[in-house]
Amino acid sequence: MPSLAWLGIFFFIPLLLVLVISFAARGTYGGVEWTFSLANYTTLLDPLYLTIFVRSLALALVTTAVCLLLGFPLAYYIARAPLRWQGIWLLLVMIPFWTNFLVRTYAWMFILRTEGLMNTVLMNLGLIASPVEILYTDAAILIGLVYGYLPFMVLPLYAALARMDYSLVEAAWDLYASAWNVLWRVILPLTKPGVIAGCILVFIPSLGAFITPDLLGGARSMMLGNLIQHEYLVVRDWPFGSAISFVLMTLVLLGLWGYYRVEGVGRMT
């Protein structure tokens, strides 16, 4: 197949290059010195970097969980709405996607900062006495990430729920299942591919995000995305940046491969 050929070149050469560079060393003035060493990978075992790894994973997981908890009822509501409303709802959900990522993130800075919109409104309403400090905390990063990636959760969930045969829900209900059991024993198993797809689509960019933590996070909030950005743009240690990136990708692909082995890949579509 000619398509196979260009796909291979176009898709895999850059990834192979990342792999190769990750075994090289930083040149004196940045750039790459073509030696072979595992130093970049051993450096990653430094507690400094392991901490960043764990913090980033935790934040990405929490982001994914929050998106799932918010997105599932929303997607269910849309999928059960009259057909002519479904499209309009989906457009609305996509709205954040239509604006520049940077601009959206700045909007959240305006909202969350100490003398920002949220505190002003809440204080004027008398709900709080003194401003809540949210900006430059992990909570602010979480809000920014959820806002940015919720559409990626809702769309696959919607697709799975819209495709689900609703008579199965009725069948479970008829067969003595409570609302909780209908959700847990029927809806979730049937829409699992959509749930997994949504979680992947949120988890991966959350893990690599650097603009949101940069702008909304505190001074100590170095995340994996920032670390890679830092190595590439500031320190100009591309080999080390590549190594971080490659470990990340490997972890993600291993997770997917595990899922594939358990579930069969046909269901992922």
Binding site: D165, E170, A171, A172, D174, L175, A177, S178
Partner: protein, 366 residues
Amino acid sequence: MALNSVEIRDVVKYHGTVLAVDHLSLEVRRGEFFSVLGPSGSGKTTTLRLLAGFERPDQGEILIEGRSMRDVPPNLRPVNLVFQSYALFPHLTVFGNIAFGLEMRRITRAEIQSRVHAALDMVKLGSKHDRMPSRLSGGEQQRVALARALVNRPAVVLLDEPLGALDQQLRQEMQVELKAIQEQVGITFIYVTHHQEEALTMSDRVAVMNHGRVLQIGSPQDIYESPVSAFVANFIGLSNRLVGRIAAMTEARCTVSAPDLPTILVRRPGGVVEGSQVTVVLRPERLHLSRDVHQNGFDNTVPARIDKTIYNGNEMHYLLRLSNSALWKVRIPNSGVEQKRFLTGEAVFVRWNADEGVILTNPDSS
């Protein structure tokens, strides 16, 4: 315990502005095989969904085993539905599907095992308990759906066109089997269908519905032999119609005269008056054809011409043009090689006995 499994009392249900069920009242006896027969949009499926609890009546009441179902959600009703599409859980095995209802009711694991296997044996699927539904044939899926309802031993099993997705031959086999299973378990079946043959062959009683109302309730014979309206007569099998006036009456029979036709002798029904307009309904298989006007033994003889002949294997269908230009159908069983068949264009005489005709006084109350 109540005598009736199900009582529907004056139930009204709107879908938006459409009246789906119109002051419906019905009683279904315990252990009965009861069919609700009607065209699509007649309200029969809505009736079933009201019984299952997926929809709530706008007015009226539903009692199951003498207990009001007002505000009782589907998971607390003693009924189970066999869906038209089967609605088998694709992520569960055959066993898992059938066990689902029992697990939800927290039956012990040992009892679930024995009841599911008994249900599997009943529907002749004992060896396929660990298959996924997608690997079963349509007929097998149908059996799993039935077993999934029966295993719960509900007061009533509701069936929504359960044979609709099967092809003709399998459908006929399943009719016999379904009826046998129902007789064996003794559970009340309420069977919704638009297929007249299914309703006639399986049911103890049939309710014919149209436009959200019940037109007639009775045994299959009642419905077929004595339809109360032209709609029922037409929906339950083929029928020929003749519109005329009652010209004379004796104690047992009356004479109907129609333009351009000889007078017709019909059994006299209750409550007709001389001179009133009536419709006579005749089943195509009750008519006889001959080339000879003088043949004896029939009360009525009408001349006609063969318009079309259709060979059907076991019988011939003839379309006839009568002298009043009405189009009638006649079905004659093929009695073998020596049979004389009629040809298109041939002049023939249609004959039948007075008792074969049914007089409808209300021309159409559909």
